[in-house]
């Protein structure tokens, strides 16, 4: 099952290839535009319109591909019609997250609804692995519904961090190992180190 590590690894590969290609293209152009060899060719309008077609296709295709390949997009769209297996209610006030338990436990494959309510400022809510990589996040806006539904497919222990700036007092809003997923056949290898340490 695809998780944020897979998505970001793929993004890293795709964007690196793109970046190198574009830099090579401009370098080739720079040498070519100085070269006195050959006559400048007139670019036909059909090439231009073909190029515009490619841009439109790429712009739309990105979203179609991610909708089909990234699992949390569809869940996010349908979250109003899915009954959550577990609701995690969190209240935030004065730069403090009031968690329902010190460590919240969720079972594998459950639909977990994170419902975060801010009583004062705009915050962020994010889950992070042991290596600090991000699993998910949302903005927590006061006076608004801040609900994010997620389905976990791997075991792991995650930390909660505010992903949005809420003033200097909120610079270190961080709850270590505050969320755990159990009961899966596979482990999230980047979220397991502390578990092994604690159990040993």
């Amino acid at each position: 099952m695809t998780d944020s590590t897979d998505v970001l690894n793929m993004l890293k590969i795709v964007y690196t290839i793109y970046t190198v290609s574009v830099m090579l293209l401009i370098a080739w152009f720079a040498f070519g535009v100085m070269s006195p060899k050959g006559k400048p060719r007139i670019v036909k309008p059909s090439i231009f319109y073909g190029y515009v077609g490619v841009l439109v296709t790429v712009g739309v295709a990105i979203h179609i591909v991610t909708f089909n390949k990234i699992p949390w997009v569809e869940i996010d769209f349908k979250r109003d019609h899915i009954t959550p297996d577990k609701v995690v209610n969190i209240v935030v006030k004065d730069h403090h997250f009031e968690l329902p338990q010190k460590r919240i436990i969720a079972q594998c494959q459950e639909y977990v609804l994170f419902d975060v309510d801010s009583k004062d400022l705009t915050y962020g809510f994010g889950l992070f692995r042991q290596n600090n990589s991000m699993v998910l996040q949302m903005q927590v806006v006061p006076g608004s519904s801040n609900q994010l539904m997620w389905k976990f497919e791997k075991n792991g222990v995650y930390s909660i961090r505010s992903t949005e700036y809420s003033g200097p007092k909120g610079a270190y809003i961080y709850y270590e190992n505050a969320f755990e997923v159990q009961g899966c056949e596979t482990n999230d290898k980047y979220a397991m180190r502390k578990v092994q340490h604690e159990r040993s």
Partner: protein, 548 residues
């Protein structure tokens, strides 16, 4: 000539400030102050870079975030706005071959923006007022964390910047439409149709119907069309920022008067939509439109040829303007209260059109250059190509983060500010502006010779490698989960931050080389005399083109 003599009097006699027109002087004033503010923004950036490598004892949280708050204000308004407004204040009358509507307004424009940026900077420096440029409600009025007087100084500065901006807008629109003394009456309708780019659409339509073109010679040249269009977004953006500023000021005054107001009276999500609608008109509106127009102008000046597919370019600029009004929701993809349909249509689909409009600008500019080969790799050309490269990297990075799937793990990470924002500004925008500067240099300074090509080369490579490198390492840190507004004190991303810091240092070196080159070219004497009154009795842009 000794170095000291060159420093005082410039290269080969330097700048003869007495031979400058009022328009040349006001342009140079704005540009010089803009370049100095760029240096301040770069130093602030390096302070934050250093703090991200290892916590510095003299920078605590409130100091760090106040630097983060004023950094974009100084960089965008103090530097970029002044550079762009200065250049366009010269270009619009120059390209339309008519006098600037008002030199006085142009002077007030740069003074208000410069003083406003200074005031906002002081709000951060002295009072540590730090709600960041995003001003998410109710953070700007959270007086448990911030001093209300600091807020007054900061927001008052922003208001001054916006008043200066409105002065620029008025001056540009007036210059396009007014009829100068001694000239036959200029009808407004064809000017307006041309300035909006409607003639481009009509020409395409007429061609498809087999008719003669609507306008063989458009009333307004293409770069002026871009400036006009971008300025519409500049106006809307100024209105929104001023409105939010007034709202914040009301709360500040109430606090200072001892009658604090309830901040829950303002809906935070609605405010966020309104504010981002306006703020995004800078990033996704006027910047992209101004840049496209500048590329077109530079391509025509460098090649001496007409632009490839002019009508398409005109039409695309109008499309870009309309697109820029409907893309703000990509900033709210992580806001779960925002309706999904708005995220899908505005945040994803309409935003994707920026790939198309910017892609068209890249294609047209490159084809125009290619059609004139062989070209000499001058400073103008190489900075232009680097600027195009910057946007070819930064715009797709933005399109990727404006995806509901990817945004869930990219929002508020270093990806946003690295590969997208800083590559767009430091490589795309800055390199384009430097290209324009090198192109306009002989026209605005009456042919002052550049002091050192070596320094220009170091500036080029330092800016290019530093800008792309810094963006790349910030992007890699983002892939590993590094947020953009969070302090990490346990060395979590130390390696990436050291590498980004080295690239940041290259940017500082590049700026110093550029500054030294400019000062040594024009000389301190010439530099200071730019700020004195012109002795030439002309309304023309340059001494040779007298219109009076």
């Amino acid at each position: 000539m000794s170095v000291l003599k060159t420093l005082l009097h410039g290269n080969e006699g330097g700048l003869n400030a007495q031979g400058l027109t009022a328009v040349q002087k006001v342009t140079l004033r704005a540009v010089i102050v803009g370049v100095l503010y760029y240096g301040l923004a770069a130093i602030e950036g390096m302070m934050m870079r250093a703090q991200q490598i290892t916590p510095l004892p003299f920078i605590d949280e409130s100091h760090y975030f106040s630097i983060m708050t004023v950094h974009p204000i100084v960089g965008i308004f103090g530097s970029t706005y002044l550079l762009v407004f200065g250049a366009f204040t010269f270009l619009v009358p120059y390209l339309m071959n008519k006098p600037l509507y008002s030199v006085k307004i142009a002077n007030w424009t740069w003074i208000l923006i410069a003083v406003g940026a200074l005031s906002s900077w002081l709000g951060g420096f002295i009072y540590h007022y730090a709600p960041l440029y995003t001003l998410y409600w109710p953070l700007p009025v959270d007086f448990k964390q911030y001093n209300a007087v600091g807020g007054l100084v900061f927001v008052g500065g922003i208001a001054l910047i916006m008043f200066g901006t409105i002065g620029f807008i008025y001056n540009i629109f007036a210059t396009v439409f007014y009829t100068e003394k001694g000239h036959e009456k200029r009808p407004i309708k064809p000017l307006l149709i041309s300035a909006l780019g409607i003639d481009g659409f009509l020409n395409i339509l007429y061609k498809m119907q087999g008719k003669e073109p609507y306008a063989k010679e458009p009333a307004v040249s293409l770069p002026v069309v871009a400036i006009f269009r971008g300025t519409i977004d500049t106006f809307l953006d100024a209105l929104v920022i001023l409105t939010c500023g007034i709202l914040i000021l009301i709360y500040i005054f109430a606090e200072l008067a001892g009658v604090p107001m309830d901040y829950t009276s303002v809906n935070a999500l609605l405010y966020k939509n309104f504010f981002w609608w306006g703020l995004d008109l800078i990033a996704d509106g006027l910047v992209l439109i101004y840049v496209a127009g500048t590329w077109y102008l530079l391509a025509m000046l460098i090649t001496g040829k007409k632009l490839f597919m002019q009508n398409i370019a005109r039409a695309a600029l109008l499309l870009e303007l309309v697109v820029s009004w409907f893309v703000w929701s990509h900033h709210l993809l992580a806001d779960q209260g925002q309706p999904n349909m708005m995220k899908l249509v505005s945040g994803e689909m309409v935003t994707a059109f920026e790939l198309v409009t910017q892609g068209i600008a890249v294609f047209i500019t490159l084809v125009t250059l290619w059609s004139a080969r062989p070209l000499k790799m001058s400073n103008e050309l190489k900075f232009l190509l680097a600027g195009i490269l910057g946007f070819m990297l930064a715009v797709p990075a933005g399109i990727l983060q404006a995806d509901m799937g990817l945004n869930r793990v990219l929002h508020n990470t270093q990806w946003i500010v690295g590969p997208h924002v800083h590559v767009a500004i430091l490589v795309g925008l800055s390199m384009t502006l430097y290209s324009a500067l090198y192109t306009l240099w002989p026209i605005v300074t009456n042919n002052v010779k550049l002091y050192s090509q070596k320094l220009a080369n170091i500036h080029f490579w330092g800016q290019l490698i530093g800008g792309i490198g810094m963006g790349a390492f910030m992007g890699m840190a983002a892939m590993d989960g590094m947020l953009r507004r969070t302090l990490y004190i346990n060395g979590e991303y130390e390696t990436y931050m050291i590498l980004a810091g080295i690239c940041g240092f290259m940017l500082i070196v590049a700026w110093v080389c550029f500054l030294v080159n400019v000062i040594m070219s024009i000389g301190l004497n010439g530099l200071l005399r730019i700020f004195t009154k012109t002795t030439l009795d002309t309304t023309a842009c340059v001494p040779a083109l007298k219109t009076v």
